[in-house]
Structure formats: C-alpha cells, structure tokens
C-alpha cells in the first residue's frame, strides 16, 4: 500500500481516513467474518453474567411484579409513574441516535457514517425493545395490554384515540417496524457476503436472511431505492415518535409538564443521549472485537464528537427555553416545582444533569485531540447518558411530586424498578453480544463502496480528497 514516492501528507491522510485506506475486498470480508467468529472464553463469561442478570432482573422480577402488583415498585400517589416511564423515555431516546446517524447522515451523504451505521441501527431496534418492556412493566394489568390494540371484538370496544398513550403506542410500533426494516435492508448484502463465506447452521441462517441476494446490478438498484425511501421516510417518523412521547407529558394538566417546547426538547434530548450511546458502543466494539480498529478510527470519534457538541448546545438551548418560559410564567405551582427541582432533596440531580449534559461536553468536545480519544469519548458518552437519564428522572418522578394538591405531595423511592431497570440494560447489552456473533457489526459493502468512491488527487502541490458520486 505504501508507495515510495508518497508524500508524508498523503501517508498521514491514508492512515487517518478509512475511506482512503482501502484493503482488498476479500481481506476485508475475511476480517469481518473473523470478528464474528473469534469468540474467546471472556465473551462467554460476560454472556453468562448478562444472561443471568437479565433472567433475574428482567424476567424474574417482572414475574414478581405481575403476581404481587405494582406495590412492589416505588410508585405511589402522586408519583404514579416512576422509573418505568423514565426508562421508557430513556430507551426511546437511545434508540433515536441509530436512525439519526444512519438516516440523516445517509441522506446528507456524510461519509464518516459508513462504518458505524449498523451498530447505530441495531441500537434503535434493541433500545425500542427495552422501551417496550419498560412501558409494559409499568401497566397494572399487563396481561390485558392487547386491549390497547384496535381489534374487532364483540363488545365493540376500541382504544381511545384521544389518549396520548394510544398515539404513543402507534408511533412506537410504527417506529419499531420501520427501523427494523431499515436495519434489515442494508444488512442484506452483508448477509449475502456472510452466506458465501460460512458453513453449517450459519450458512442456513444467512441463506434464509439474505433472501437470495446475489449482488446483480438490478438487485443493487432496488436495494438502493428502497434504502433511500426508508432513509427519507424514517426521519419524520423519528421526529414524530419522540415528539409524541413528549406529548404524554405536555398534554397533561400538570405544572411543569404542560409546555409547548417539550416536543423539540425531547427530540434533541433523545439525540443527545443517543449520540452518547453510539460513542459508547463504538468504543467498546473497537476495543473488544477483532479487526475493528481498522474500521472504526479516531476520525469517527472526532466527527461524532463535533455532532455531540452541536447537539449538546441545542439541548442547552431548549432546556433554557423551557425553563425561562416556565419560570417567567409565574404560575404558583410551577414556581414551587422549579424550586423543588433545584433546592429540593434531590436538587443534586438537577445540577448533575446540567453538568453532564452541558458543562462536560462543552469543556471536552471543543478540543480535537480529546475528541479523537476513544476513551475520553466513551467517558463523555456515558456521562451524557447519565445526565439524560437524570433529566427524565427529574421530569417524571420528581416533577410528579409537585401537583396542585399540596396535601398529597410525596417523595418517590424506587423499589423493584431498580432490578428491572438493570435487567433491561443487561438485556440490551446481551442483544448486542448476540448480534455481534451473528451479523456483521460493520456494513462491509458500505465501507467498500465508500473506499471505491474516494481517491486522492494531486492539485498542484496539495493532495486533496475526491469523492465520486455513485448513486
């Protein structure tokens, strides 16, 4: 690869940019396949631990919750919704980054997206699964959840379309279906690649999933068209989903919730936590899976870092916007609520939220060197997620404490929600672990496509990057 006459600048560019550092197709495919197969005992230890946590935290605890009733949890009057809803919003938020990165960046042809769209899209689907669990757990009689679906019945009863929860259900279902499709479409060529390179049950598995994809020109055209449609279509869906989630709160007659800015505030908050989560996933994938340091390079962390900084600023803007309007409004209950946020017994959460969501990203992400360091980015991503979780905690149980009947104000102390929450987190990671053994976490074809389109050109004494338009 290195040629003798190459400039240092050029060498530097190649080392830095994946798109300019092509490997032969076969080698690259083999690397990806190997990353799936190379399973050490450590993997199985982690797998077993996570599976155990999931079994206990999620399934056993949920069984207890169903049998004994929601008294096992910390929900009470007036905090009728507790960590369940915090987790629901949190997971939906996480799930947003996947589509955001993938669809928006694809639509805008942001080249740095190429190696990590897959990992991000998986996050959407896996996150939504956890969100679904979280909201189902919160129901008093979950075994009747099917009543929320519009199905014909002899009682002629239907779900209430006035209820934001019904909208929510529709939005989340749509989003889950659309994002799963959107995950699956770009996966097809890679599955076909894997099918051609594996034997035994894996071969059968990929054969079924690859839908007979052979890579003909016609197939590619169809696939590209479909992906394009989905990429465009899923963006409004994504925005609407989190807006609708925010309406669960904004439509209510409660101080602190009834805010017109909640829609965009929630969307940006979702992106904030989602980007943080993507960074965390990338850093871990890069560190733990074979050959991934080739695909995921510091340039990607650096680019995501820039995005995160912008989103953090956007979040700060919307937070301020929400706060100032509520505060200026001077409603007596809202004033009590804002005071409760800042100076109440859990006031530290409010400050921690601002530090993690605004202060730390702003202090760290302006610096290119820090931005390029995966471990720093991992830390920042984790902190942002903690901050965003706290934001939801402040919006739900802490805000629910304050209502218009001061005689009922009461603190919320979580109970079985904690194992359940840990269970969803473990299950989320477990799903990633399983996925990392089954599907290529890097979209090889997309990387190869990008590498084909990129080349270095000499303009005078400068070496510049050129990109050919493929589509």
């Amino acid at each position: 690869m290195t040629e003798k006459h190459e400039h240092t600048a050029e060498r530097h560019l190649r080392k830095k940019h994946l798109m300019l550092d092509p490997l032969p197709r076969g080698q690259m495919n083999a690397m990806v396949m190997e990353s799936m197969h190379a399973t050490s005992w450590k993997f199985w230890v982690v797998f077993a631990v996570l599976a155990a946590i999931t079994a206990w935290g999620l399934f056993y605890s949920w069984g207890v919750l169903m049998l004994d009733g929601l008294g096992m949890a910390g929900v009470n009057r007036p905090s009728y919704w507790g960590i369940f809803l915090v987790n629901t919003v949190f997971w939906i938020g996480i799930s947003h980054a996947g589509t955001f990165i993938s669809a928006i960046l694809r639509v805008f042809k942001a080249e740095f997206r190429r190696p990590f769209t897959r990992a991000a899209e998986l996050m959407t689907t896996f996150g939504l699964i956890q969100a679904g669990f979280s909201i189902l757990m919160h129901m008093g009689r979950v075994w009747l959840a099917y009543w929320l679906l519009p199905y014909p019945n002899q009682r002629q009863l239907w779900p209430n379309v006035h209820s934001p929860l019904t909208w929510d259900l529709l939005a989340i279902t749509t989003y889950l279906l659309a994002s799963t499709m959107y995950l699956f479409l770009p996966l097809i060529p890679d599955l076909a690649m894997a099918r051609d390179r594996s034997t035994g049950w894996r071969k059968t598995f990929y054969k079924i999933l690859a839908l007979g994809f052979r890579g003909t020109e016609g197939e590619w055209t169809h696939l590209r068209t479909a992906m394009n449609i989905f990429a465009f279509a899923i963006i409004p869906v994504m925005f609407s989903v989190h807006t609708i989630v925010s309406w669960d709160f904004a439509m209510a007659t409660r101080p602190g919730w009834s805010s017109t800015v909640f829609g965009p505030y929630f969307v940006i908050g979702a992106l904030h936590s989602g980007m943080g989560a993507v960074v965390v996933v990338l850093a871990i994938v890069r560190a733990t899976m074979k050959h991934m340091d080739y695909f995921i390079r510091t340039e990607h962390f650096e680019a995501i870092g820039k995005l995160m900084l912008i989103i953090s600023m956007g979040w700060g803007y919307f937070f301020f916007n929400d706060y100032i309007v509520q505060w200026y409004g001077g409603d007596v209950w809202t004033k009590q609520l804002l005071h409760w946020h800042e100076a109440g017994p859990l006031g530290w959460m409010w400050f921690a939220m601002l530090i993690f969501n605004v202060l730390i990203p702003w202090l760290v992400l302006w610096n290119r060197t820090w931005r390029s360091n995966p471990w720093i980015m991992l830390t920042v991503g984790l902190l942002i997620n903690v901050g965003m979780w706290l934001e939801r905690y402040i919006i739900i149980p802490i805000s629910l404490t304050i209502n218009r009947m001061p005689f009922t104000w009461r603190m919320y102390e979580p109970g079985i929600e904690i194992p359940l929450g840990i269970g969803t987190l473990a299950f989320f990671i477990l799903l990633y672990l399983i996925a990392s053994r089954l599907i290529p976490l890097v979209p090889v074809w997309e990387v190869q496509e990008g590498q084909m389109a990129h080349s270095l050109k000499k303009v005078g004494r400068e070496t510049v990057v050129t990109v050919a338009e493929l589509e």
């Binding site: 009728y80 779900p159 006035h162």
Partner: protein, 255 residues
C-alpha cells in the same frame, strides 16, 4: 347559529357536557369537623380495602375521600384551615377522561358523572397523573385477596354486593355512590315516579354528623343542593383549569 354538537366528532370520552350537570354535591367547610365519618362510611359502602401501615404512610392509602387541612401562622397565632373533604369532583370536563387509552374512565351520558370501569382498566395510571385533585387511588397490591391478606376471609362478609371488589392493577375512585343512584332510580321507576330530592344520599353524606355534605340534583333549581351552591360563598377548587367540578365547597360560614 346552531351550537356545535361535539359528539358529531366522536368526542365521546372527552365530551364537554352542558354546563349544568346532573348530580352534584355541596360541602360546607364551615360545618365539617374533620371527624372522618365520611371516610369510613365510604370505605364500608364501596369495599375500599385497607393497605396497612407502611403502604398507607407511603401515599398508597385507598380512601376515596380524604380530609385535608393546612396550617396558617405559628404558635401561638396558629390557625388550622377549615377541614376540606376532597373527593372526586365528577368534573364536567374531566382531565382524567381523554388520557385513558382504554376508555376505562369515561363520562356517563346518563348520569353525567365520571365512571371508572374497573374491568376495562389496564392500569396505565395516566388518569391519576392527570387528575388535578389527586383523588384517584390505585390498587397497588391484591389487598382484597384473602391469599394475600388473610383477614379478608372473614371481613369479606361485609362486602357490598352492589359494588365490584377490585383487584391489583386497577384504578378506582369515588363514584358518587352510583349504586345508590341506580337503586333509587330503579325504585322510583318501579313506583312510577321521579327520584325525590333527599330520597337517598351517598354514604359520605348520609353519615356526616355535621350535615356538611349535601347531595342532589344540581340541574333542579329547587333541590337543596342547588339552593346551597347558589349561595355567595361557594367555590369550585381549581376551576381555573376548566374542569367544571360538580362539588361546590361552601367556605366562610353563614352570615
């Protein structure tokens, strides 16, 4: 111009009904002595379960009516605000109704009160969140199951057969003793007459030793309750939210 019929838009659950309502209540806070007779009477009539010390102290008590009081000033210039029995206000435009995804809390078209249909409830607790009066209570556990609470094995003998016994995961609230409304209407109909004012009362009003709670038709100008609520010192709590409460509080006392 013709008024717009909201039901044309299918706004069945959240329909804004005519301003006058049907059944209503007047609570004279000047007469209320805070004695809790209404609280116990309600529980006895409506099979409301008890939850035990820990749950009760954690905001999970199931009372359908609670008596609130606050303090003003500091010792020795301290005053207790008048006792305020707080129960479901049976809002004409109830915030709890539109948010229920299952239509488990709906407005009764015939009795013009808020219904809670226990067997339709899936327990999202959205209604309770959205209730500005915080008067809904949730069955956090199987308090009425004798396998959970063995005292129920004998105590269940006092259960009122006219009222559903709720199990875990279901929201409940004051119903204005709809079973008594139905019984009175049924009896009146069998006898071919209208229900008389004062013929029956919800359990709380019937028990109230101070006669502070008066119940009746608020769409009948001659009824005792509508005469009371037309007095100057009647207030509707949180009416600024447009909830159209059907419970009027008389504050400040006579003269």
């Amino acid at each position: 111009m013709k008024p717009i019929d909201l039901s044309l838009f299918g706004a069945k659950g959240a329909i804004v009904e005519a301003a006058e309502g049907k059944w209503g209540m007047a609570i004279d806070q000047d007469l209320c002595t805070g004695c809790q007779a209404c609280v116990v009477a309600c529980a006895m009539e409506n099979n409301v379960p008890f939850v035990g010390e820990i749950d009760a102290g954690y905001g999970r008590s199931m009372h359908w009516i609670r008596i609130e009081r606050f303090w003003e000033g500091e010792y020795p210039e301290i005053r207790m605000t008048p006792y305020r029995p707080m129960l479901c206000q049976q809002c004409g435009n109830a915030p709890c109704e539109p948010v229920c995804p299952a239509y488990a809390t709906v407005h009764s078209q015939s009795e013009r009160i808020n219904l809670q249909v226990y067997n339709r409830c899936v327990g999202t607790r959205y209604c309770a969140n959205n209730c500005p009066y915080q008067v809904r209570s949730f069955n956090w556990r199987d308090y009425t199951d004798e396998r959970v609470n063995d005292a129920i094995a004998t105590l269940k003998n006092q259960y009122n057969p006219d009222v559903t016994v709720r199990r875990r995961g279901v929201m409940e609230k004051c119903t204005f003793c709809i079973q008594r409304i139905h019984r009175a209407q049924d009896r009146a109909k069998a006898e071919g007459r209208e229900v008389q004012d004062g013929e029956f009362a919800p359990a709380c009003a019937q028990a109230c030793p101070a006669d502070a709670i008066v119940f009746g038709r608020i769409d009948d100008l001659r009824s005792r309750v509508s005469r009371l609520i037309r007095q100057k010192h009647g207030v509707h709590y949180l009416e600024e939210l447009g909830t159209q409460p059907r419970v009027t509080y008389l504050v400040g006392g006579a003269s």
